[in-house]
């Protein structure tokens, strides 16, 4: 495999487009005759709309139409994920008077200007029949029921954990909680819909254009080919734009009613109400071990919340049976239904909430038996997947521990909590394991060889800031053995070959492999044509004699001749050559388990009186198979770590438990870190050979960056203060009063 560009830390190719404003995001396409829609949200979280009066609003200058459940055109079912639809909530928008969460859309105003629409929206008068709000995991009156996985993967129990826990020499049991979070991408969700007869085009901020296309075709009863979804650039997805939320079909509905293009951009407030969140969780973990650290039993169970009408499981137990070689593991999850928007995938769904618990609990165990936390993890190192009882496709976690510890100076950690002081502050070091399933979804890509010898690769996958354009171009260039400037990657348009949802840290392994495959398909076809074409210097040779190297085509049987791609096309008398490739999903029936791993290390400083925590140093040593682009790869990990620090110390969506309304619906009060909260984040990409997940040898990396980070921070806080905090985010009062 040529290795000219893959792995290099190239700056992102679309950088100049972005900084000059030429990269257009979904709300930025100027269209003739465009009008604007504003969505009106319910003030209550449970009940019904008794009456809705739009007469004042309708008189506002510039208002084109107001749509409510009383006058809405019908919509058909969008289908579920298994059918290829990206739809989120089952209940269709504006179809009846029922209200299940605060902010749920109850009306839509279309107007000539955004300001007119906003003003009219404020003039709509609504009367409600209010029901009591059901909210909060603390509420013991809410029925709990067993959770079924929505992703088809479910953590598996083994052995007899309850009995073995009872017999264990060392027993530790505790309760951990996490609060709700919202994705809050910098770019709000936005959709612009345009009808041309029965044909629909939607510019949508989506991680999954093909899924949005599928869902819209079903909702409007039109053939799939009549729908085009464009999502070139996405200003942050993180799972939140992996679903089609209700504003998308509503934009199309509004455009159909207005007979004009309609644009909807969600307000920052709506970003907290209407586009999913991370569930709250309450988790119990019990660990039984020998005094020498050998794990005997792990019980990890708990509850997360979901919506009234739909199920989403925040799979916090997903990593538990796989992570350590423990013979007895019990995992179980329950759900409760609450008056909230449907929760959804959010950066490392499951791992971000669950790894924090198991990695905190291991730290508790290490302290209880006076053992180094890394030694404890190595003592129970899983050389093969103990859950599925099969080898890992690759696992250099031991090297992550080793390299991370060495580079971080782990040996300087004070074993006794609360004893390391510097400049009047308590210093603590903590570590945690990171993991995330490495996935590969089915993906298509196309390749075209142009007359000038350049290549065009295409896929419907968007560029969501992760560096996909750059990486796909690197893959294409190395596949064909040509310079980068001979390769173009076009993206984010359902006119191109269908890509899966750009999520699960799987775009490289899915779309990347498809790009590679499409390039290889071009070469295969060229070889076949060159041996069959009489004018070709390679006429009559056999296929396996043709070699592609560094942009040159040679034939071992006819060593005098050499063609480049452009001359090969000329010989064949073709202006261009097209090929396609379909990457298969990496199926469950495979004989290897595929996971990414890493180790996070944190140093915190805690004010002994005021309990102010500041993260002074952070280091992550991660493995992701073959690195595609060192720079964007490290940036992914750093972004994840920052979010992990945020999850550990700041971030929480606060609900009023009586009204079900989000209280901190803005970036002023929904706290995420500012620059001064984040230290330099050192990332080491630990070399690893991955042979099973695809031709590229790459595993996902994005989400390893966040999984485990809160545990590394909490463990460092324990090391600094001797205080074990078992709730996220860790607030000043948790340390001050414990």
């Amino acid at each position: 495999m040529s290795n000219e560009f893959i792995g290099k830390g190239l700056s992102r190719l679309e950088g100049p487009l972005k900084v000059t404003g030429k990269a257009r995001y979904s709300a930025e396409f100027p269209l003739k005759g465009i009008c604007y829609a504003v969505l009106v949200g319910s003030a209550i979280s449970a009940g019904r709309v008794r009456s809705i009066n739009t007469s004042k609003a309708e008189k506002t200058a510039g208002v084109i139409k107001i749509i409510t459940h009383e006058n809405r055109p019908p919509l058909s079912s969008p289908g579920d994920r298994l059918s290829g639809s990206a739809n989120s909530e089952k209940r269709l928008p504006l179809q009846d008077a029922e209200i299940n969460y605060a902010g749920q859309y109850i009306a839509l105003v279309i107007a000539e200007t955004l300001q007119s629409a906003q003003h009219a929206a404020e003039l709509i008068e609504v009367n409600y029949d209010k029901q009591p709000t059901v909210l909060g995991l603390k509420n013991k009156n809410i029925d709990r029921f067993p959770a079924k996985s929505q992703m088809g993967e479910i953590a598996k129990s083994r052995g007899d954990a309850k009995a073995e826990y009872g017999k264990a020499e060392v027993k530790l049991e505790s309760k951990y909680t996490t609060e709700a979070q919202n994705h809050n991408q910098m770019e709000p969700h936005a959709s612009t819909a345009i009808w041309d007869g029965d044909k629909l085009t939607v510019y949508d901020a989506s991680q999954y254009p093909a899924g949005v296309r599928n869902g819209l075709a079903k909702m409007f009863n039109i053939p799939l080919e009549n729908v085009r979804v464009v999502s070139h650039f996405v200003g942050g997805g993180f799972g939140g734009k992996g679903n089609m939320w209700q504003h998308v079909p509503l934009a199309a509905l509004a455009a159909r009613v207005a007979r004009r293009p309609v644009k909807i951009v969600l307000s920052r407030k709506q970003m907290f109400n209407n586009v999913g969140n991370r569930s709250e969780t309450e988790q119990r973990i019990a660990i039984g071990a020998n005094k020498d650290g050998t794990l005997k039993a792990i019980i990890h169970e708990g509850v997360s919340d979901t919506a009234m009408k739909d199920d989403f499981v925040e799979q916090f137990t997903i990593s538990t049976p796989m992570l350590y070689a423990c013979p007895n593991v019990d995992v179980a999850q329950e759900l409760v239904r609450v008056n909230k928007i449907l929760p959804t995938y959010m950066r490392a769904p499951g791992e971000a909430t669950g790894v924090w618990v198991i990695e905190s609990a291991l730290d508790e165990l290490a302290h209880a038996i006076n053992m180094d936390p890394i030694e404890l993890r190595m003592k129970n190192y899983a050389h093969q997947d103990p859950e599925k009882e099969r080898p890992f496709s690759s696992k250099a976690l031991d090297k992550c521990y080793q390299i991370g510890a060495e580079k971080f100076g782990w040996s300087k950690r004070y074993k006794s909590p609360g004893t390391n002081k510097r400049g009047g502050k308590l210093i603590g070091l903590g570590m945690a394991t990171a993991t995330r399933g490495a996935k590969r979804f089915g993906a298509k890509a196309s390749a075209r060889l142009n007359a000038d010898g350049s290549f065009l690769f295409r896929s419907s996958t968007p560029e969501q800031g992760t560096g996909s354009i750059t990486v796909m171009t690197q893959i294409g260039a190395d596949c064909m053995g040509v310079p980068l400037n001979k390769v173009t990657f076009e993206h984010g348009d359902t006119n191109f070959a269908a890509a899966p949802v750009a999520a699960g840290s799987a775009t490289v392994s899915s779309v990347g492999n498809a790009v590679w495959g499409a390039g290889k398909a071009i070469q295969k076809e060229l070889a076949e044509k060159l041996i069959a074409e009489k004018k070709s210097p390679f006429f009559g040779a056999s296929k396996d004699q043709i070699e592609f190297k560094d942009g040159a085509i040679t034939c071992s049987a006819k060593t005098k001749s050499k063609l480049d791609y452009a001359s090969a096309l000329k010989v064949l008398g073709q202006k261009s050559l097209d090929a396609k490739f379909d990457t298969d999903p990496f199926e469950k029936g495979q004989d290897h388990s595929t996971h990414g791993f890493g180790a996070h290390f944190a140093e915190v400083e805690v004010d002994p009186d005021l309990a102010i925590v500041s993260v002074k140093r952070f280091l992550s040593a991660v493995t992701c198979g073959r690195v595609m682009n060192e720079k964007t790869c490290k940036a992914q990990v750093q972004g994840g770590v920052i979010w992990g620090i945020s999850q550990a110390l700041m971030e929480s969506t606060i609900f009023d438990e009586r009204s079900g309304r989000v209280l901190n619906r803005g970036l002023d009060e929904y706290h995420i870190p500012v620059n001064a909260d984040i230290p330099e984040i050192e990332v080491h990409l630990v070399p690893e050979e991955e042979k099973h997940l695809g031709a590229l040898g790459a595993k996902g990396v994005g989400e390893i960056g966040i999984a485990g980070v809160p545990a590394a921070i909490a463990n460092a806080i324990f090391n600094a203060t001797g205080k074990r905090i078992r709730r996220l985010p860790i607030r000043i009062e948790d340390i001050l009063l414990s």
């Binding site: 003003h119 009186d609 005021l610 606060i654 009204s659 500012v674």
Partner: protein, 331 residues
């Protein structure tokens, strides 16, 4: 946002007062960093805005008594970075710089900062009950999520925290507010300017209808060398205070001749801990004296479901701030 009229007044404060009187339900606008948000959220719905951002002297001048006068329109960033303020009133400079973000400080005016309104979630959310926004509607914060709320100066009508950092320093410095109203000019001691919520939480200060702040005066500096502004918050910047402390000590050797102590983030108005100041006066510097002052400052604290921690945090912050102030002379 509701439709409103807009008038910019650039000649005299009196003209602005006259203009406000001619427009029903008028409101002044300076930097607009607070009122625009409140209007967008339909929390405040004035029928007209009288723009006073270019009225009067936006600078700082010295007074004959050794103090300074800060123009009402002076931007927070300008005041914070002014040489005299930094040298003579560091507690004010630090307080200003710990508030908001550089962008907001570049817009926000001195008078506007003194008039900024609470960040209580329920005040901002028009679907909630709030006696401050809608007198008589109730207070959803009292039994709601009240982690950010006040523990001092609350009433059975309102527990909203005054959000300003600048005002805590102004209170500590015994500033004087200059105004112009229908009845002419007057001066209001800062400590009397903000009102406790009591039965009328919607009345937040001593201004009469359409009365306009023209300047804020600081008396001659007293505690320059031994002062501190300490702000504790949920992240390193761009967050309102959980607790903030402005402390000033007038020291003679190891003895405290005079002391000023003001608190933010814990009270319904910028809070002067007068009794605590009395405890400090005449005592020698010691942790015990600081602790006694802290105890006294929080003696009247009344806590709610989520904010009980503020008592302990405020005490520790007071002790820390006094310790820093007592050391800053030597440094």
């Amino acid at each position: 946002m509701k439709l409103f009229s807009y008038n910019k007044i650039s000649d005299t404060p009196q003209a602005a007062v006259a203009s406000a009187s001619q427009h029903p339900n008028a409101h002044y606008i300076g930097g607009g960093t607070n009122i625009i948000d409140l209007m967008k959220n339909m929390v405040m719905i004035p029928d007209s805005l009288i723009d006073v951002s270019e009225l009067g002297d936006p600078g700082i001048r010295s007074t004959s008594s050794g103090g300074i006068i800060i123009g009402a329109a002076a931007k927070n960033s300008y005041v914070a970075n002014h040489r005299t303020v930094r040298d003579k009133y560091p507690v004010l400079a630090r307080a200003l710089l710990s508030g908001a973000s550089p962008q907001l400080r570049n817009m926000a005016s001195t008078a506007g900062n003194a008039l900024q309104r609470t960040r209580c979630f329920y005040f901002y959310d028009t679907a909630s009950a709030c006696n401050k926004r809608e007198p008589g509607s109730g207070c959803d914060a009292m039994h709601g999520y009240n982690r950010m709320h006040a523990i001092l100066g609350t009433s059975d009508q309102c527990i909203a925290t005054h959000p300003s950092d600048m005002c805590v320093a102004m209170s500590c410095l015994d500033a004087i507010i200059h105004t112009v109203g229908k009845a002419g000019e007057r001066k209001i001691p800062f400590i009397d300017f903000h009102k406790l919520p009591e039965k009328t939480p919607h009345i937040e200060n001593a201004l009469q209808e359409n009365e306009l702040i023209t300047a804020i005066e600081l008396p001659a500096p007293l505690f320059t060398d031994s002062s501190c502004y300490l702000k504790i918050r949920d992240r390193a910047s761009y967050a309102f205070a959980l607790v903030s402390v402005a402390a000033g000590l007038d020291l003679s050797g190891g003895q405290i001749r005079n002391a000023r102590l003001a608190l933010g983030g814990v009270a319904t108005k910028p809070w002067r801990a007068v009794e605590a100041e009395e405890i400090l006066k005449g005592k020698n510097i010691s942790q015990d004296v600081f602790a006694a002052a802290a105890e006294s400052a929080l003696k009247q604290a009344k806590t709610f479901e989520h904010n009980a921690f503020k008592v302990e945090l405020a005490k520790k912050a007071i002790i820390r701030a006094l310790a820093i102030a007592s050391r800053s002379r030597q440094s």
